[in-house]
């Protein structure tokens, strides 16, 4: 019983970072109507930058958020300005392929520089856990969950209260109305891409605490991000949080009852089911 409870708690904790990792994909889709396959690139860059800052300077992954958040914003806005924006009048598949190209380039450059070996980042608290009643709860998972929830809270406040956040929602909701109100839609696109990429890169920082660092990191977690975003309803923050937690729990239960090897299959099955059910739902 305590075992099962431990699994559930751990699933919930991981689920929050799944939601955090995925939200940028939904935000970018909502504002630009672009499926950002370069999300995989930003996730991978996030873990590598964090791993490297730790290996070279002993920087704590949580401190490296101060690097990955602004760097992600800058790189994301740059990708939007230099590539996505130029293709705004082309068919969506062009943008999709282009962003896929960005991801492949980043992945291969990482292979060239760091090779394909799995690396891991170990801090003094990586293996710590504490007791909560009968449960043993992993400290890094709690820390990561707290940071993810804080990130979500800040973002929710931004979208609800700040002019910039309202502009993001306005462009996502009705581009023409936004334009007629004097909102610079082009700039909002770049900001949305920047925020989405900052979220992805900083998710990489957080996740480096308990996932191994490889050039395939992005592939593994892009699929999960899709799963969370489709299940949660694209831009709906609450829905995405619930979907992230649901996926985290489902994965941990699968690993507990069947085999750890099946963990990554769960997101694939959930994604297919969510797509099929959503179709049935809408027509």
């Amino acid at each position: 019983m305590a075992d099962l409870l431990s699994v559930l708690v751990s699933g919930v904790l991981v689920g929050t970072v799944y939601a955090y990792m995925a939200y940028g994909l939904g935000l970018i889709y909502g504002v630009l109507r672009v499926v950002n396959l370069a999300h995989g690139a930003f996730l991978t860059l996030g873990v590598y930058v964090t791993w490297w800052l730790h290996a070279a300077f002993g920087l704590d992954p949580l401190v490296s958020l101060l690097v990955t958040v602004p760097l992600g914003f800058f790189l994301g806005a740059l990708v939007e300005r230099s590539l996505v924006f130029r293709l705004r009048d082309s068919p969506p598949v062009t943008t999709l392929l282009l962003l896929f190209g960005v991801w492949l380039i980043v992945r291969n450059v990482l292979y060239l520089i760091f090779g394909g070996a799995d690396r891991s980042l170990l801090t003094d608290y990586s293996l710590e856990s504490f007791a909560m009643g009968p449960l043993a709860v992993s400290l890094p998972r709690v820390i990561v969950a707290v940071f993810s929830l804080l990130g979500f809270l800040v973002l929710a406040l931004l979208l609800k209260k700040a002019w910039a956040g309202l502009a993001l929602r306005a462009v996502a909701g009705d581009r023409e109305a936004a334009s007629l109100s004097g909102i610079p839609v082009n700039r909002v696109w770049a900001v949305a891409f920047g925020i989405g990429s900052a979220l992805a890169m900083s998710a990489g920082s957080l996740m480096s605490l308990f996932y191994s660092v490889t050039p395939e990191f992005g592939a593994r977690f892009l699929l999960k991000s899709f799963c969370v975003v489709v299940l949660g309803g694209l831009t709906n923050m609450g829905g995405i949080l619930v979907a992230g937690v649901a996926l985290g729990v489902a994965e941990d239960l699968t690993a507990f009852y069947f085999h750890t090897g099946y963990r990554d299959v769960v997101s694939f099955i959930v994604l297919v089911l969510a797509l099929v059910l959503r179709r049935a739902d809408t027509g």
């Binding site: 306005a170 909701g173 334009s179 007629l180 109100s181 610079p184």
Partner: protein, 241 residues
């Protein structure tokens, strides 16, 4: 209220998707007057308003607002110059509250930090919006949506309001309210360029009117004179008169 600038279009030509939607339109709206622009479906009325507000770029011709040349300007520049646009079909944000919709209308004035002062002025003009302020705009009735769209445009504190078929699809009583609002707006010194298919109401409310046909102005004059014009009556009032 001080008199705002005059809007002047000269020989404006606009293509939409390869179609010559406007073939040389000249018109003007003086400060503080209501001008009606009427014409059949597809005449180019919406295209004209979109060209003024910078959503579609004109091929040639001039758009002037006082001293400013707005030909080819971005919608942002046009709003800052003092022209706000209530689009066809209201285009409010259904997933946002009425208050958020109105706040976004004040985007161009956000640095002045007085948007809440503007909000209370709008609530005085359109009290219904204050009652609904916390509600999602998607839950409003058709008339209330139109009011929210008008309120949002007024939040930019324009000198000229472009309105695209504000009475479309509304019941007769609600249409009355919309026209009362248009008069109240004019009473505050804001000029209105009113596009309507409801020709009688529009020309009745306006000091002057233009008739647009196939992308050209075919008649212009005082509202009452146009209403009395046999050609106009035959073309647009056949069924109503």
């Amino acid at each position: 209220m001080s008199a705002g600038p005059r809007l002047e279009l000269r020989d404006l030509r606009v293509r939409r998707g390869g179609v010559k939607a406007l073939r040389g339109v000249s018109l003007h709206v003086d400060a503080g007057e209501i001008v009606a622009l009427v014409g059949a479906n597809g005449a180019g009325k919406t295209t004209l308003l979109r060209a003024i507000s910078g959503v579609s770029a004109p091929e040639s011709g001039e758009v002037r607002f006082g001293e400013q040349r707005l030909h080819g300007a971005s919608p942002r520049t046009v709003v800052k110059a003092g022209i706000a646009h209530v689009p066809e079909g209201s285009h409010i944000w259904p997933q946002m509250t009425v208050r958020e919709n109105l706040r976004l209308g004040a985007w161009s004035r956000r640095r002045a930090r007085d948007w809440e002062g503007g909000l209370s002025r709008i609530y005085r003009l359109l009290p219904r919006l204050e009652e609904r302020s916390g509600q999602l705009a998607g839950t409003l009735s058709g008339g209330e949506r139109q009011m929210a769209a008008i309120g949002r445009a007024l939040m930019a504190q324009p000198n000229l309001l472009l309105m695209d078929e504000p009475s479309l699809g509304l019941s007769p009583q609600v249409v009355d309210t919309v026209f009362e609002t248009i008069h109240a707006i004019r009473g505050q010194g804001v000029a209105v360029l009113l596009v309507e298919q409801n020709v009688v109401r529009a020309l009745g409310a306006a000091s002057r009117g233009y008739v647009l046909e196939g992308g050209r102005i075919v008649r212009e004059g005082p509202g009452e004179a146009l209403l009395a014009d046999p050609e106009v009556r035959r073309a647009y009032l056949g069924r109503h008169a």
